[in-house]
């Protein structure tokens, strides 16, 4: 049982790290603000979500697991709002001179 849980953790966390890697590459390589934001939010939402999912079987009790999920939801909220704000700012022509 614990072996199964460990395999699940390793798979999910590795997949999450792949999305972080892809997101970082995208952030460095994509041509403009909106596509870079797109790459960044993939890392935040999917990558971090997979890492949290992978860590869930390792949490000692239900409360810690719930805390992990709440952290993920808060990061989602903050990340989504921040990228919306940056996108809005960028579409209005960048920083004031």
């Amino acid at each position: 049982m614990s072996l199964l849980a460990d395999i699940f953790t390793i798979t999910a966390v590795s997949a999450g790290m792949f999305f972080f890697l892809a997101g970082t590459v995208g952030l460095l390589r994509f041509p403009d603000t909106l596509t870079r934001l797109h790459a960044l939010t993939k890392a935040d939402n999917l990558g971090f979500g997979l890492i949290v999912l992978g860590l869930l079987p390792q949490s000692p009790d239900v409360a810690s697991g719930l805390k992990l999920v709440v952290v993920w939801l808060l990061v989602q909220l903050a990340g989504a709002s921040a990228s919306q704000l940056i996108a809005q700012f960028a579409s209005k022509g960048g920083p004031p001179a």
Partner: protein, 310 residues
């Protein structure tokens, strides 16, 4: 095993620090400072100092960064481009920095064995005070005077900022914190996040008695929620002449001072607690302090009055 991530973290901190110092633009430099603060909080977690990590993230990265960004916006760009300090001054700065670096290196490379520590002495009396978090015990029992003065300094800082108010505007409200144009996502965030953030702030304060957390971390989270609401233009900053506001600013230090002087009658002297009642008194002081810290930080970021009193 864990050496590699630690080395990577140290390298990142060094890179961010060098970038912060060498950035040409003031705002770039402040953003670098915020990054250094967040990386440092990770380093504190690696050192098992969760209390310090929380404070560094909330105050070093968050609140100070926001204050500095506001100051940048007020100061405008650096105009004296290319003006460098005189050579003797630069040499002196280099020499003094090298001395500090060499002293630090000496301390790290040739540690005293056994390292001097007060940890056993601090742990010995924790049972009498009834708190489980040694950091809170040190801050509010053993070194309560330091903590009291720290909070008084915050009040003085706010008075300093308010003193910059031009005479005709005295007593009025600070300028609005909102962005140039209203923004849907920001309004949404400012409506959804504060209830959660207030719970987390109160939790940090309450938790500080037995586990990592405390007044400064919790108070900063509360201040951040208030600032978010002000930035989204859901609430205006209050007028600085309001008695209620001023009362909240001095509430924490006042409660702390009252408890301190009461120590002469109910315990052994200034800032000492009667045995058996230490924990409830400390929790009361912490709650009052956190409220004051939240209000002071919010008003520090809002800045001096910019509108005449109504």
């Amino acid at each position: 095993m864990s050496l590699l991530p630690d080395l990577a973290l140290v390298l990142l901190i060094l890179i961010a620090a060098v970038w912060t110092v060498s950035a040409r633009d003031r705002r770039d430099s402040v953003i670098g400072f915020i990054v250094v603060g967040l990386l440092l909080s990770l380093a504190w977690i690696r050192l098992n100092s969760v209390d310090v990590a929380l404070t560094e993230a909330a105050v070093g990265g968050g609140a100070t960064g926001l204050l500095l960004l506001r100051a940048c916006a007020r100061l405008g760009p650096i105009e004296a481009e290319g003006v460098k300090p005189q050579v003797p001054l630069r040499i002196l700065t280099g020499v003094l920095c090298s001395v500090v670096a060499a002293a630090l290196a000496a301390v790290v490379l040739f540690p005293i064995e056994p390292a001097p520590t007060l940890a056993p002495a601090a742990a010995a009396h924790m049972g009498e005070i009834g708190l489980g978090n040694p950091v809170t015990v040190v801050l509010l029992a053993y070194r309560a005077l330091d903590t009291l003065l720290e909070k008084v300094v915050l009040v003085l800082a706010l008075i300093g900022v308010w003193a910059l108010t031009p005479d005709p505007l005295w007593g009025g409200a600070p300028g609005s914190l909102r962005a140039q144009q209203s923004s849907g996502p920001l309004t949404f965030l400012a409506q959804v996040l504060p209830p959660i953030g207030v719970v987390i702030g109160v939790y940090l304060i309450w938790n500080g008695a037995d586990r990592p957390g405390g007044t400064f971390q919790g108070g900063t989270v509360l201040a951040a929620m208030w600032l978010l609401v002000m930035m989204a233009d859901l609430r205006e900053p209050p007028e600085i002449r309001l008695h209620k506001l001023r009362l909240l600013v001095v509430l924490g230090p006042m409660v702390f001072l009252t408890v301190g002087f009461a120590g002469f009658w109910i315990a052994d002297g200034f800032l000492s607690y009667p045995s058996g009642f230490a924990k409830p008194i400390i929790v009361l002081v912490e709650a009052a302090l956190a409220l004051s810290i939240a209000v002071i930080l919010g008003m520090l970021v809002a800045g001096p009055a910019a509108r005449p009193p109504r």
